[in-house]
Amino acid sequence: MIFYIGSGLLIGIGLYGMLYKRNLIKIIIGLDFIETGVNILIISLCYVKGGTAPIFSLPSLKPSQMVDPLPQALVLTAIVIGVAVLAMALSIVVRIYDKRKTMDISKLKRLKW
C-alpha cells in the first residue's frame, strides 16, 4: 500500500508542477515526476508477497518465490524511452531560450491562439 501512496504522491506533485509552474524546465521536471510515479506503480502492482528478484543466482531458488518479471522488462523499456523524451524536450527548450531569451511559458505569445 505504501508503494501506491508513494506513486500517487509523485504523480500528484508532477501534475501540480505541470499545471502551475511557468518555467519550461520545471514543467519538464513535472513530466519526469509523473513518469517515475507510473513506473513505480507498474512495478508495485506485480509484487508477490515474500518474492525475490527473478534471477536464479542460486540453484535452490524456486520460480514460486519470485515476483513477476514481465512488468520489470516493460519498465526497463519505459525508462529508456523516458530518457529519450527528456533529451528531446530539453534540446527544444535550449532552442526556445536562444530565440526568445525567456523560459516563461506565458511570455511565449505565439503559442497561444
Binding site: 543466482s57 513477476d68 526497463l76
Partner: protein, 226 residues
C-alpha cells in the same frame, strides 16, 4: 485561484486513485498469467539466469529493437535541433581534486560499464545501464578537462556497427530457424558467463551502441562550436 486549482486537482486525482487501488486492486496479489511460463520455462529454454534479461532480449526482442531505434532517433533529433545553437562559453575550471581523481577513475568507470553489460544475463544490469555508465564516464572527463574532445566520427562508426550487428544476429536467426532473433547458439550451463546463446552478444552490441550514442550526445551538447 490558479494555484488553488493546481493544488486541488492533483489532490482529487490522488484521492480517487488511492480509493480505487484500495478497494479494487489490492497489493501483494499474484497476478501472473504469461509470466508463469517465463519463470518456470525461461531458464531451460533460454539458459539465461536473469529472467528479466531473457524477456527483454529474446521473448520480446522486437520491443528492444524498437527501443534502440527510439533512442537513436532521439540522439539524432537532439543533434539536429541543437545544430547551430549559440553556446555561452563560461570558464568553469574544475578543481585539482576532480581533475586528478578523474584521470585515475576514468578507466575503471569504463571497465565497470563493460562488466555490467557483459554480465547482463547473470546479474541485474544489461546493455542499457552499462552504456549509460560509459557515457557518464565520458561526461566526467568533459567536466574535468576543458579541452577534452571525443572523436565523433569513430563514435558514429561504432554506433552504426553495433546496430548492424544487432540486426545481423536477428537475421541469422531468421535464416536458420525461420524466426527473427531466434536463439541459434547453445544455451550452455546456467550461471556461467558463456551461456544463454545470443543474449550476451546482443547485450554487447546494445552496450556499445548506447555508450557511443549517449557519449556522442554529451559531446554534442558540451563542445563549443565556432
Amino acid at each position: 485561484m490558479k494555484r488553488l486549482f493546481a493544488i486541488l486537482f492533483p489532490l482529487l486525482i490522488i484521492i480517487v486513485f488511492l480509493y480505487i487501488m484500495k478497494n479494487y486492486i489490492p497489493f501483494c496479489v499474484d497476478r501472473m498469467v504469461v509470466a508463469k511460463h517465463y519463470l518456470t520455462e525461461g531458464l531451460p529454454e533460454t539458459g539465461s539466469t536473469n529472467i528479466v534479461t531473457s524477456i527483454v532480449v529474446l521473448y520480446r526482442g522486437f520491443d528492444t529493437l524498437g527501443e534502440v531505434t527510439v533512442l537513436f532517433l532521439a540522439a539524432l533529433g537532439f543533434g539536429a535541433i541543437l545544430e547551430g545553437a549559440k553556446k555561452k562559453t563560461k570558464e568553469i575550471v574544475a578543481s585539482p581534486i576532480v581533475r586528478i581523481s578523474t584521470r585515475y577513475l576514468f578507466p575503471f568507470i569504463i571497465m565497470f560499464g563493460v562488466y555490467i553489460f557483459l554480465h547482463g544475463h547473470l546479474t541485474p544490469g544489461g546493455g542499457f545501464p552499462g552504456g549509460v555508465i560509459i557515457a557518464a564516464g565520458i561526461l566526467l572527463m568533459y567536466l574535468a578537462y576543458k579541452d577534452f574532445r571525443i572523436d565523433h566520427t569513430k563514435f558514429k562508426i561504432t554506433e552504426s556497427l553495433a546496430g548492424i550487428i544487432f540486426v545481423g544476429i536477428g537475421l541469422v536467426g531468421l535464416a536458420i530457424y525461420g524466426s527473427f532473433l531466434a536463439n541459434f547458439l547453445p544455451e550452455g550451463l546456467p550461471r556461467q558467463i558463456f551461456s544463454a546463446g545470443i543474449i550476451p552478444l546482443i547485450y554487447i552490441a546494445i552496450g556499445f551502441k548506447v555508450g557511443s550514442e549517449l557519449g556522442g550526445l554529451v559531446g554534442e551538447g558540451l563542445e563549443d562550436k565556432e
